[in-house]
Symmetry: D2
Subunit: 295 residues, 4 copies
């Protein structure tokens, strides 16, 4: 893009590797899978999810604790308590943690608990948040805005890079369109374009695009074949009871099945998915949460 | 809307009056016109604009000093110096001032200089900003997001109201669509719907919708006939030299002509526009700005 | 438009007048109103509508007899019998008749019964139909496609003109968008643009844009203030019982009220609406229809 | 879909096989590839293309002879002479032929020359054309409209089936959206949905979606991984000299490369692409065309 600098790719440049933990890197030949529920609900829920993710294997766990909701009266996330649960997941299961940051005031708390900070679609052009994240020493997962153009998406990433943080991963998650059979329209054209224009890794969130769990697997496969460097997928122990986005979460069984089906696809395009079961069990912990959350 | 409370209108409820200065109120039978450049550039520019607005008459002056720009390398606004210029406009010309707030950290400075704080389209769902503005004792001008639904727009307003600030004015400014002849598509259907669903005043920004100055006047007239409580229109002493949005700014002459043409339309729908020339000359001032700005 | 010829307007050119009956012309300073139900259902329905339209006054009557429906199992229109009813309306009430033509094979029958042939949104780029209509000696009402750009809309008109028929009226009726509160988004920006780019008259259909009757009047007023040369509005004696588009039809009382409210708006922009009651009673007739239709 | 019948799929139903020649069937485990230029330009061009397609191998050849163009002054296709060239391709190379039908009047000529009749996006709801194609004994390739919903797309197919022709293949080709980096947005969500809702085969046209040749291969791969039954891809001996859609056509070399890359992807999802070189050389022919075309 003519008016940008740091995000642009030269013809010979490889994808930048963004490391989110000792073991997990985004942008290499091995695809990166991130899974977990829309919202962190309680310790047991997350523990069940993490146990499945480890063995799938999925490389990182996601879960919202500060939730951007259309109505102020909808569940807004567990907040600080949710962060404690996420940290506990990393300690117990060795999974790096991804969660959304909605404001500058949350950065410090989230950065001390999470391995990667997600900027949600609604905040893709919250420029002061982007500038502040440019000064954070953690990778940023930048989701495309609901109606953001390619230029705007790359411009948003440039804000982070130009303020000092080179660790940015882009995430296509579907755009607003006229048909409401799917929640959004997954735009794999922009994924293909981004892979040619920028050196930043690009992952895809098929869950928010589909909005219906039965459409997630085909879109996940399409994204991988189309060149994405990884996926972020919503899953839940009991999807229909999810406090948010219930309709689009995969069951844990379906999540495991999907990961298995991705392996040959990855091979077919000259990439890999992790298949060994050797993820660390994590450290011992005496973690205890308030009864209301752990319940 | 089912999941909202404070923004909803009962069948018999009148539009809430939002007062932005001693003399200027939005939501009554008299339409409110807000004019000014996209960006505050210097004192002379604003003084020229204000002199025209006073006599048009236009009731309030706008001008961006913190600018949300796609690229971090584009002009980002004059910042604090721009605020001083805006305050000077109120002192010299008696015009209340509207300017955009992009982050919580800017609220204090802007609230002490401006009469109305604008939330831009990109921040319509920056929920922490909305919550913080709920605690400000100034009216808020909330612009619709580029692809925001009716529910999302009203939900965003509800965030402000539910956090304590009842002084919210909604602003339709066009939505993203497939045709690029106009910059956005002005959605007067949502204006009609909002007037029926919420008691909050609704104004229209035809400049950002049109993106071309020759289309602004017809859209402004359409908005008034369609029920809008006012207009926010970009104008500039030398539009083609504007540092931003040059293509859509009206010349000052065209601005005056438009205001005159709105008068009979207002009458036709049982409303009025201010026609007297008796706006106060404002207080005397010994204001001086750094040479670089005043020049 | 660079690649078009006949539709383009020179700077000094007036709007072309398209005459649809002895008394009714579209494109002059007097606005043209067209009303009627989505579908012609029976003689009594149309007679009731026509009696109201005459006195409103509305200048022409519309009603579909060949209906484009998403499902082949939905009501497809009365066909030839509907055409007979439309002709009878002209004879009884002196109202020119507008109805949709969906295929070349229908042109002859429709052209012999109707005063203006409507090309629906789905057929805006049915180029063979457009070419055939270029050889018809009747005015054509060309509705904008659901996602047609300005270039495509004018290009479609150019097909008709370049094949010999200069009597084309353009009609904006809303475009597909992401929000489903309204059925479509009325794009008055394209109306303003068309009035500057082409000499063809431009009317607006607020009914299909709104999709909800309570939004029709504000959009109708907006269209007139925004420069449209007329309106096409759906109305029905018992809207909730309409066989198609029931949700968007005005009652006949609301139609009359709307026409009255348009008069001062027209004056405000230097135009007029017909206000006299002197429309001819039409000729005497011994028309009789099959019992099933007349019932 | 509730209001449709023949297109709907039961839980256990397999994809219907649509046979377009003795050797080529769409909907089975073997993917079907269709290639060729946007427009048939001359015999030599098509012969060059066909020679490449045969060996790629690509199973069928496409080429427009009646072209739907925005402007009436743009190249409208070779018409009847183009049909002769297409027939000659089948005779010389044994490749079944796909070409677009734009009107009822063209059906007879096209059906006698082509193996599959394509309905273009602009005609997806040209219901009289659909009904007429319901009475044709040739497979129909139905392209999704530029802004057609899932319901409308399936409804259009139901028109063809309910009028007697069960041989319908659906084709997703991108929808209109706000970003103009790609020409359209390829909607693989609807492909996934269609595969679950209808028994009709579904193929994808990545060329019209991408609008830029460098984006075609990733979208083609994504479509296959996402469950499409085949692809239709534009290619040309000298893409930059194509009379239409020059920017999106693959070179013949790139076409061959893409086909090779699809093979392992097909295997990965339990499907196949044809890899043998044993396509018949076709019959001998003494075909001669007017000098102007053959040149």
């Amino acid at each position: 893009m003519a008016n940008l600098k740091l995000v642009n790719k030269t013809d010979t440049q490889e994808t930048t590797l963004v490391q989110i933990s000792d073991r997990v890197t985004i942008g290499g030949s091995q695809l990166t899978l991130i899974g977990g529920p829309c919202s962190v609900e309680n310790l047991e829920q997350m523990d069940t999810v993490a146990n499945t993710l480890k063995t799938a294997p999925v490389q990182a766990i996601r879960g919202g604790v500060f939730k951007p909701r259309t109505s102020p009266y909808s569940f807004q996330g567990l907040g600080q308590e949710g962060l404690s649960i996420l940290t506990e997941m990393r300690r117990r299961h060795g999974l790096p943690v991804v969660t959304e940051v909605m404001s500058i005031s949350q950065i410090e708390a989230i950065a001390s608990h999470a391995d990667m900070l997600q900027v949600g679609s609604r905040n893709m052009q919250n420029f002061d948040l982007l500038k502040a994240l440019g000064q954070v020493d953690k990778p940023i997962l930048l989701k495309r805005g609901l109606a953001a153009t390619l230029d705007e998406f790359l411009g948003a990433a440039e804000y982070i890079l130009s303020h000092g943080n080179p660790q940015v991963v882009l995430c296509e998650r579907g755009i607003r369109s006229f048909d409401n059979f799917t929640r959004n329209v997954l735009d794999l054209g922009i994924v293909a374009a981004l892979k040619q224009l920028t050196h930043l890794p690009v992952i895809v969130d098929p869950s928010h695009a589909a909005g219906k769990r039965e459409l997630v697997a085909p879109l996940a496969k399409a994204a991988i074949a189309g060149g994405a460097d990884g996926l972020m997928i919503e899953c839940h122990p009991t999807p229909e009871q999810s406090v948010s986005d219930a309709r689009q979460a995969l069951s844990l069984d379906d999540m495991v099945t999907l990961v298995r089906e991705l392996a040959p696809l990855a091979t077919a395009i000259g990439r890999t998915v992790e298949i060994s079961e050797e993820i660390s069990e994590g450290e011992e912990s005496n973690f205890s949460l308030p009864q209301t959350i752990a319940a």
